[in-house]
Each structure stands twice: as C-alpha cells, then as structure tokens.
Amino acid sequence: MTLAARLLSLGRSVGFAVVLLVILLAVNLILSPGRFQPGSWGALVGLAAPLIGAAIASTPVILAGRGGIDISVGPLMGFVNAFAIQVLFLGAGISSPLVLVPATLLVGALVGAANGFLATVVRIQPIVATLGTYLILTGVTLTILPAPIGPAPAWLKALSGPLSLLPLAAMFIAWWLVRRTPYYDQLMAVGSDDRAAYTAGVDVTRVRFIAYVMTGIFSGCAGLMLTALIGSADPNIGPTYTLIAIAAVALGGVSLAGGRGGVAGAAIGAIDIFLLQSVLTTFNVSTFVLQIAYGAILVLAVMLTALQERFAMRGR
C-alpha cells in the first residue's frame, strides 16, 4: 500500500473524528489562545494521555467482535494506580521503574487474562463478565486504598507533562508490532466474521483471549499514565475512564461490531473528547453538562459511523 492509499483508508475509517478534531482544535485556539499556546501543549498532552491510553486499551477486545467489550478498563487503571503507589511504593518501598513498570503491566495482563477466560472460555457475555471484574476491582481498590494518598515516585511524576508521549509512543509501537504479526490478521478476521474465521482454520477462542490480555496490558500502561498525571493514588478516578474511553473508541470509527478500525482512530476519538471537554470548560459549564455532552457525542458518533459505512457500501 502506498502512503497516500494508507492515509486515505485511515481517513475513511476515522473520517468524522478527524473533521471533528480539526474543528474542535480551531474552536479551542480561538476561545482560549492562552491555554493552547505552543508552550503549554506538553501539559495538554499530559492531561489527555490517560484518556488516550484508556481508549487504546479498550480497542483490541472491541475489534475482536461479537459483543467484545471490556468495561473494566477504568477500574483496572484505578487498581493499578492504587497498587503501584499504596502497595509497591509506600508499602514495599519499591520505587525503581524496572520493578514498577513490569509489575503493573503484569497485573494488567492477569486481569485481562481473567476477563478473557470468563468471556471466551466460560463464554459469559463480555459485558457481564467485565462488569463483574469492574465491581470486584472497584471494591478491591477501595479496600487497599480507602482514601487518596501520595506521593508518586519522582520519575513517574516526571512523565506527566510532555514526557507522557513516552508511554503513549510505547503503546503505539506495541500495536504497530502487533499489526505486523499474523495475529493481527486473525484478530480482524475473527472480528469481521467469527464463523468464517473458524472455517478458515483460525482458533477463534485463542484470538479473543489474547485480545483481552492485550487490553489488560494496555490498561496497566494507562493506569501508570493516570498515576503520573495525578502524582498520587486515588481510588475514585479510575472507574470514570471506562465509559468515556468507549465513547472515544466509537467516535474514532472503531466498529462496536468488530473487525473495523484501529488504535489510531481510538486515539483521535479520545483527543476529540478531551478537546470538547476543554471547550466546555472555557464556558464554565458544570460537569453534569459534560456528561450530557459525552452521551450526545457517543450516540452521534455511532450513528455517523453507521451512515459512513452505508455510504461506503453504496459506493462499491
């Protein structure tokens, strides 16, 4: 594929989100030029990073299709946040990134594997299985960390500004590598049509299971980004990311039916939501209005994606 064709196909799949991105960016630049001056872009990226991470994390299971969804992404980020600070840093006195990073990613992978086991082997509906994990993780997090506590290790806090691009880049590179493996084609095939994938000799259960593990690992990474941003541990922030992340994924042109889209779209969707948030805060609207805006955006995004798909079909 040439670069132009690649950009074109990316544009087709995320189309609406990119247009919205440009509009929102322009509106933000006009409304609050001070906040959006080049010097503060680093800080802005830092603010948006956990949401982008959560959106990327939510993507693999949604791509795997047949109702695949992981609503425990947010609570898992919260749990990783509490675990890293309360248990590892303050409890065991470990501050080295060489221990903290692998440990949190491992926690993410384990929770992802548990979700994957419930959703693909036991075959509980994904939304029910991950709702169970959602509640368990929320409870466990509050048990080990009843109230916010700090601080975070210095190196982690340093990742909050421009350097938050580092974990984001790591996630993108990881996904880029996945895209180059045979697994990616199997994932998209399973998401596109799981019966056809089975008849083509794809191990559907294994492919979906690995998608949950990937989501878990990415959630662990997003949890670290959240920790970097707030510079402490807070048991109540994580769960709020779940639904916004799913809205971002839908906005980014990832089909909730599976097999269409990618993490680039999800990331753009997340940036859209962040910019929208930013526009509404300049108007000093309440957080309740923000919630209404998220909901409206989600419905609109899904509708527009469906329309876009219909037009694409008619064009053929």
Binding site: D193, A196, G201, V202, D203, G259
Partner: protein, 249 residues
C-alpha cells in the same frame, strides 16, 4: 467400485444420522468424487464429517495410507493433515467483508509470510499472485475490500485460500453456487488440473450437469445413506436422478 485399501481419505463404517446404515468410502488421490442428492439427504453432513466439522455418530474418518493413517477427530486436525474445506455459503461462512482481498486470501496460512515473526507484505503479495494467475482472479488491487469483487471472484479468492494450504484432499461444498458460467468453466479446469496433479477432490453440487462434467464417480445420497454409487459409463443424468428419488435405475 473403488479400491477401499488405497491411500486417501477414508470413511469407515460412518453413520451420519440415527438409524442410517454405515458408509464406507475412500477418496483416492487424483480422483474427483461427486456428492449428489436432494437437499438435506445427508450429503452435506457427510462432507462436513470428512472435514472434521461435524462429529460422526459411528465409525471414523481416517486419512493416509493403510497402517499409517491418522484419525480425523476435528476440523483443526483435518487442516493439519492436509484436508481443505471450501464452505457453501460464502457470505455467511467464507468472506470477511471488512477485510481486503489479500487478507481474505491469507487468513488460513498467515504464518507462511512471516520473517522473524513479523508479516512480510511482499511475501504475501507474491504468494497471492501465484494463485491470482492460476485462478485468473479479476481484482482491481489486492488491498481493495473483498466486497468490491464479483461473486465469482470472491469464490476464487476463497478457493485460493484453501489451495494455499496445499492440501492433499479438497472438499468443496457447492463451489459454483451463484457463480457465472464463464467463471464456472475456469473453476472446472482448475479442479481437473488439481486432480491431474494428484489431489483428491470431493464436490458436493446441487447441479447434476456439473457432476456429470467433472466426476468419475458419484455418491447419491438418500435419507442419510449412500443410495447409489454410480461410476464411469453408467454415470448419466437419468441414473443419478433416479437414485436421488429412490427409484432403481
């Protein structure tokens, strides 16, 4: 009658429905065997059991030379043993509508294009080009969505997917359904060519003309049993139709 001790894909005392009598058949390398019958009389079930997609009620499916054969107990085992299956309903069970022609072709044989664990697009494209030529697939670009292709060409891509496994036995479930006449004749030539190269083919078809044109031997199913096995010069439209409706030819 075929020689039941030859190497190939063998059904031994296979029972496909409760109360039906057992079927013992061997598909030898290089032969094209047709499966005929009125819809729902067991021929599709038989084909799926050969592919490992349905489990038999009795008997077994074995593959290989006598004495060194392995039992086919599941679909994955069948694929690993060199048995490829082309499903019937390509829209429901075959194509991935959101994926490109190339991805649709490669999904069964992904690991063959890897260099150090990563996919090499060039290797995949080269592998696809071999089959594109062989099956004369008409596609604008390999990275175009498969839904941009005509039905016949989609079917060719699915056949290319199965052939890419380099199977010893190819099981075809109504391969020319909804395919235009010109494409059909291309496919017939391909099937004959494959048989000449030593592949064993089993073709389930709802069209008797197709079976008469391609097959040396036909199994006619009626009520989940092989009602008649017709071969060579006795193979005529009349004899097949008579067997399908349960009349003596």
């Amino acid at each position: 009658m075929a020689d039941h001790t030859a190497p190939g894909l063998a059904a031994r005392d296979l029972v496909i429905a409760p109360g039906a009598s057992a079927i013992t058949q061997t598909i030898a390398p290089g032969e094209i065997v047709g499966l005929a019958g009125l819809d729902g009389h067991g021929q599709e079930l038989f084909l799926k059991m050969l592919a490992g997609l349905a489990s038999p009620l009795g008997g077994s499916i074995e593959f290989g030379a006598p004495g060194a054969s392995r039992k086919i107990t599941g679909f994955r085992k069948a694929v690993a043993s060199g048995i490829a299956y082309l499903p019937r309903d390509r829209r429901a069970n075959g194509i991935f509508p959101t994926q490109s022609v190339l991805d649709n072709f490669a999904v069964s044989t992904l690991s063959r294009d890897t260099r150090l664990g990563l996919i090499s697009p060039a290797a995949r494209k080269a592998r696809y080009d071999i089959y594109r030529e062989k099956l004369s697939i008409v596609a604008p670009r390999p990275d175009a969505p498969i839904t941009t292709l005509s039905g016949g060409n989609q079917q060719k891509v699915l056949l290319a997917r199965a052939l890419a496994l380099e199977p010893a036995i190819l099981l075809l479930n109504d391969p020319t359904r909804g395919v235009d006449v010109a494409t059909r004749h291309v496919l017939y030539d391909v099937f004959r060519g494959l048989a000449a190269e030593g592949m064993g083919l089993v073709i389930l078809s709802s069209e008797i003309e197709e079976i008469l044109l391609l097959c040396q031997r036909v199994l006619v199913f009626r009520e989940n049993e092989v009602a008649a096995e017709i071969a060579d010069e006795r193979l005529t439209a009349d004899s097949v139709i008579a067997a399908m409706f349960g009349r003596a030819a």
